[in-house]
C-alpha cells in the first residue's frame, strides 16, 4: 500500500501544468471571458467557433495524451487508469481549461466508431443526460455546453449511451451563461440517437464521469487556496498582512482542509475504480463527487471573501472559479442524490 503519487504520476501532473500555463494562461482566459460576457445578444449558428474554445489548445492537450490516457496501448493509447487521470484532470481544473474535457476523454476509451478521433483531439465530444420520463429531473430546460464546437454529442441515460449529431439539435444559445467560459445552449428537443453502449456502459460512464469532474473540482478548490493565501500574505491593513489575523488564517486553514480531504477522496475513488478489490467504487465515486463539489464551491466563495471588495470585481479572476465550480457541480446531479447513494451503500 502506497497512497502517495508515484514519480511517474508527479511528472505527469507537472507536464500537464506546464502545458496549461503555456496554452491556457489565466490572462487569456480572463480576456476571453470578458469578450463573451460583452457579446451582444443573438443566436449563434451551430458549427461556429466561439472565443472560449481554442482548437489549437485542444490539439495540444490531445498530443500530450489527455484524451488517449485511458485508451489501451494496443489501440495506440497511453494505457493508464483512472488514478493517473485524476492527476491530469486536477491540473486541467486548476488552470480553468474550458471545453468538454471529461466527455471527450471518456469517449476516447469507448470502442465505438462514432467517437473515432476523440483520442487525437480531432473529434470533440460533449455529453448530456437524457432526462427521465418523470420527476424533478424531467422538467426543462435541457442544457448542453460548448454545442457550437461539438462534433458528437453522447446522450447518457439509465438504458445506455446513444450518439446524436449536434447539428441535428434544435437549440438556442443562452446569451449570458453563468460561467463565461462555458457557453450554454438550451436544447428544445433531444432526438433519439444511435445506440453505442448498453446500461452497463452507461453506468460506468456516469461513475467515471463523476470521478473526473470531481478531479477538476479539486483543482479549482486547490487553486483557490493558493490565491487566497497569496493575497492574504500581500494585502496589508492595520499595518500588517491580513493573513496574520486569525480570522483570516482560519478561513484559509478550512479551505486547505476541504481541498485536501476532497483530493484524497477523489484519488481513492479512482483507485477503487482501477482496483475493484480495495472497496466499493460506486460509494467512493459519489462521496468524492459530494466532497469535491462542496470544496470547490466553498473555497471559491471563501477566496472571494479573503479578497474583500476586489474579490467582488470582474477584474480579479476568482469569480471564474466560482462559476466553473457551479457548472461542474451541477453536472454531478443533485447533492441529495449523491449523499443518498453513499448512505444506501454504507
Amino acid at each position: 500500500m502506497d497512497f502517495e503519487l508515484s514519480e511517474e504520476e508527479v511528472a505527469l501532473g507537472e507536464s500537464v501544468r506546464a502545458l496549461c500555463a503555456a496554452r491556457f494562461p489565466l490572462e487569456a482566459l480572463q480576456q476571453a471571458a470578458s469578450l463573451t460576457a460583452a457579446r451582444p445578444a443573438g443566436r449563434v449558428e451551430g458549427g461556429g467557433s466561439s472565443s472560449t474554445f481554442d482548437r489549437k489548445g485542444w490539439a495540444a492537450l490531445a498530443s500530450s495524451g489527455v484524451f488517449a490516457l485511458q485508451v489501451p496501448e494496443a489501440d495506440e493509447g497511453v494505457g493508464l487508469g483512472m488514478a493517473p487521470a485524476t492527476v491530469v484532470f486536477e491540473e486541467l481544473g486548476r488552470a480553468l481549461v474550458p471545453g468538454p474535457l471529461v466527455s471527450t476523454h471518456l469517449a476516447a476509451r469507448e470502442a465505438s466508431a462514432a467517437f473515432s478521433g476523440a483520442d487525437e483531439g480531432k473529434v470533440v465530444v460533449g455529453s448530456i443526460g437524457r432526462p427521465p420520463a418523470s420527476g424533478p429531473e424531467a422538467l426543462p430546460p435541457l442544457i448542453v455546453g460548448h454545442l457550437a464546437n461539438l462534433d458528437v454529442l453522447a446522450v447518457v441515460s439509465d438504458g445506455g449511451i446513444e450518439v446524436v449529431e449536434p447539428s441535428s439539435l434544435q437549440a438556442s444559445q443562452i446569451e449570458r451563461s453563468l460561467d463565461p467560459l462555458t457557453p450554454m445552449w438550451r436544447v428544445d428537443q433531444l432526438p433519439a440517437g444511435e445506440s453505442i453502449g448498453d446500461s452497463n456502459a452507461a453506468a460506468r460512464w456516469r461513475r467515471d464521469e463523476s470521478v473526473l469532474v470531481a478531479a477538476l473540482l479539486v483543482g479549482l478548490a486547490a487553486r483557490c487556496v493558493e490565491m487566497a493565501v497569496q493575497y492574504a500574505k500581500e494585502r496589508e491593513q492595520f499595518g500588517r498582512p491580513i493573513g496574520s489575523f486569525q480570522a483570516v488564517k482560519h478561513i484559509c486553514a478550512d479551505m486547505l482542509v476541504r481541498a485536501e480531504t476532497a483530493r484524497v477522496a477523489v484519488q481513492a475513488a479512482a483507485l477503487t475504480v482501477d482496483q475493484p478489490d480495495v472497496g466499493d467504487a460506486e460509494r467512493a465515486a459519489a462521496g468524492a463527487a459530494l466532497l469535491s463539489a462542496e470544496a470547490a464551491q466553498a473555497n471559491a466563495k471563501a477566496c472571494i471573501q479573503v479578497h474583500g471588495g476586489m474579490g467582488f470585481t470582474w477584474e480579479v479572476p476568482v469569480h471564474l472559479y466560482l462559476m466553473r465550480a457551479r457548472v461542474l457541480a451541477e453536472s454531478l446531479g443533485p447533492r441529495g442524490a449523491l449523499a443518498e447513494l453513499v448512505a444506501d451503500r454504507y
Binding site: 500500500m1 493565501v229 500574505k233 498582512p241 484559509c252 480531504t261 484524497v264 466532497l291 448512505a343
Partner: protein
C-alpha cells in the same frame, strides 16, 4: 498510487487477526469506568498479552524493544484492533504513545534500558504533566519550577489534565529550569516517580461524570537528575518530538470506529423508520463521504510517513477534520436516539438488536465535545495549518 496491500502486509494482517480471534475471548470482563485500580489491572493485562505475542510497541524501534513495524503495518495493526473491538490502549496511552517514543529517540542508553522495557511489559504506567492551569494552548507559558540541588531537581508547581495520575508510576513532566519569562527556552523534560513525597492529586470530574483526569500539585518534589531526558533547557524540542507523533497515527483507530458507528446508526435508522426521511439518509451519506475521505487521508499520511520517516504535517489536517466529523456523527446519533437520548442510563426500546444503546450514543455525544479541545484545540490546529503549512505570518 496503490491502495492494495503487499503480500507481506497481508500476511502480517492475517497473523494479527488470527491472534486476536484467539486472545480476545480470554479477556476478563471490562471493569467499571470509575474503578481506576481495576482499569489499570485490565489495561496492563492486555498490554502483557500484546507483549507476549510480540505486538507491544508496534511502532517503536527494535533497539528500544519494540516491534519496529513499518508505518503501513502500524496502520493495519490499529485498523484490525479496532475492527476486532480489542481493548483501548487506556492507562498505557502516555507510556506507549508519548513518553516511551520520546525516551526511545532522546533518552540515554541507560534511560532506554531502565524505562522502556517496563512500559512494553505493562509493568509501568505513565501520566502526562505538560499543561498547567495558566498554560493550556500556550504551553510555552508553563511556570512549574525545577531548581537543581546536587543530583536532584526540586520541583514545585501545578499540572492539569493529567490522565491516570492516581494509578501512574511515572509522570512525563515539563518544568522550567531557565528564567521565568523564557518561553520555549529554559524548559526541561523530566521523568518523575509518582510515589515521591510532595505530590498531591485532585481529580476533575468531566461533564460526562467521569474522573479520567485531574490536577497535580507539586510541592518540592525531588526528581533525580538522572531522570532528565535531553539537555537542561532543551525540553521544548524534546516535547515537540512527542506531540508530532501524537498528531501522526494516534487517531487512526478513531476513524474506523466512527465508520462502524455510522453503520450502526444507519441500521438503527432503518429499524426506527427514520430512514424513510430523505433528510436522515442525506445526513448519513454526507457524513459517510467525510469519514471515507478521512480514512483515505489516514492512509495518505501513513504513506507519507513511510516515505519520509516522520509523521508529517498532514496530521493537523486529519486531526481537525476528524474531530469535527466526530461531533457531527455524535449529533446525528442523538437526533436518531430522540427521547432515549435524554437518559445516561440504558433504556429499553431504542434498538431491537441491542447492538447500539442510548447510553453509548449519549456518551459518544458528550465525549465528542472534548475532541475539538484535547490534543490541541481546533483553533490551535487551524493556526498550525495556516502558519506551518500555508506559510501565513504569525500574528
Amino acid at each position: 498510487m496503490d491502495l492494495r496491500y503487499s503480500e507481506a502486509e497481508e500476511k502480517f494482517r492475517a497473523e494479527l487477526k488470527a491472534w486476536l480471534a484467539e486472545a480476545l475471548p480470554s479477556l476478563p470482563p471490562a471493569p467499571a469506568a470509575s474503578d481506576w485500580p481495576a482499569r489499570r489491572s485490565f489495561d496492563t493485562n492486555w498490554q502483557r498479552m500484546l507483549h507476549a505475542a510480540g505486538y507491544a510497541g508496534i511502532d517503536w524501534p527494535t533497539d528500544g524493544g519494540g516491534r519496529g513495524a513499518s508505518p503501513v503495518e502500524q496502520l493495519i495493526y490499529l485498523e484490525e484492533l479496532e475492527r476486532a473491538h480489542a481493548p483501548y490502549v487506556g492507562v498505557n496511552f502516555v507510556g506507549l504513545l508519548h513518553a516511551g517514543p520520546t525516551i526511545s529517540v532522546e533518552g540515554t542508553p541507560d534511560q532506554r534500558a531502565r524505562f522502556l522495557p517496563p512500559i512494553l511489559r505493562g509493568d509501568h504506567v505513565w501520566c502526562q504533566g505538560f499543561s498547567e492551569p495558566s498554560a493550556g494552548s500556550d504551553l510555552a507559558a508553563l511556570q512549574t519550577r525545577a531548581v537543581r540541588d546536587g543530583d536532584e531537581y526540586v520541583v514545585s508547581g501545578s499540572k492539569i489534565w493529567t490522565s491516570h495520575a492516581e494509578v501512574a508510576d511515572y509522570c512525563e513532566l515539563l518544568v522550567r529550569t531557565g528564567p521565568k519569562d523564557g518561553r520555549h527556552k529554559g524548559i526541561t523534560w523530566l521523568a518523575m516517580e509518582m510515589d515521591r513525597p510532595g505530590i498531591d492529586f485532585r481529580p476533575l470530574q468531566t461533564i460526562a461524570g467521569s474522573t479520567e483526569f485531574g490536577q497535580l500539585f507539586l510541592d518540592q518534589v525531588r526528581v533525580p537528575v538522572a531522570n532528565r531526558v535531553g539537555e537542561e533547557g532543551d525540553g521544548w524540542r524534546v516535547a515537540m518530538v512527542t506531540l508530532s507523533f501524537e498528531r501522526g497515527t494516534a487517531f487512526v483507530g478513531e476513524v474506523i470506529q466512527s465508520m462502524e458507528l455510522l453503520h450502526s446508526l444507519r441500521e438503527l435508522a432503518r429499524r426506527s423508520g427514520a430512514w424513510d426521511a430523505p433528510d436522515t439518509r442525506r445526513r448519513l451519506g454526507a457524513l459517510g463521504a467525510k469519514l471515507d475521505a478521512l480514512w483515505a487521508l489516514a492512509r495518505r499520511n501513513v504513506s507519507s510517513a513511510a516515505r519520509t520517516g516522520v509523521p508529517g504535517i498532514g496530521g493537523s489536517v486529519y486531526k481537525l477534520a476528524l474531530s469535527e466529523a466526530r461531533q457531527e456523527l455524535a449529533e446525528l446519533g442523538m437526533d436518531l436516539a430522540g427521547r432515549s437520548g435524554l437518559s445516561w442510563d440504558e433504556l429499553d426500546g431504542l434498538d431491537g438488536s441491542g447492538s447500539l444503546g442510548n447510553a453509548e450514543i449519549v456518551n459518544t455525544w458528550v465525549h465528542s465535545l472534548s475532541r475539538t479541545i484535547a490534543a490541541g484545540t481546533s483553533q490551535i490546529q487551524r493556526n498550525i495549518i495556516a502558519e506551518r503549512i500555508l506559510g501565513l505570518p504569525k500574528g
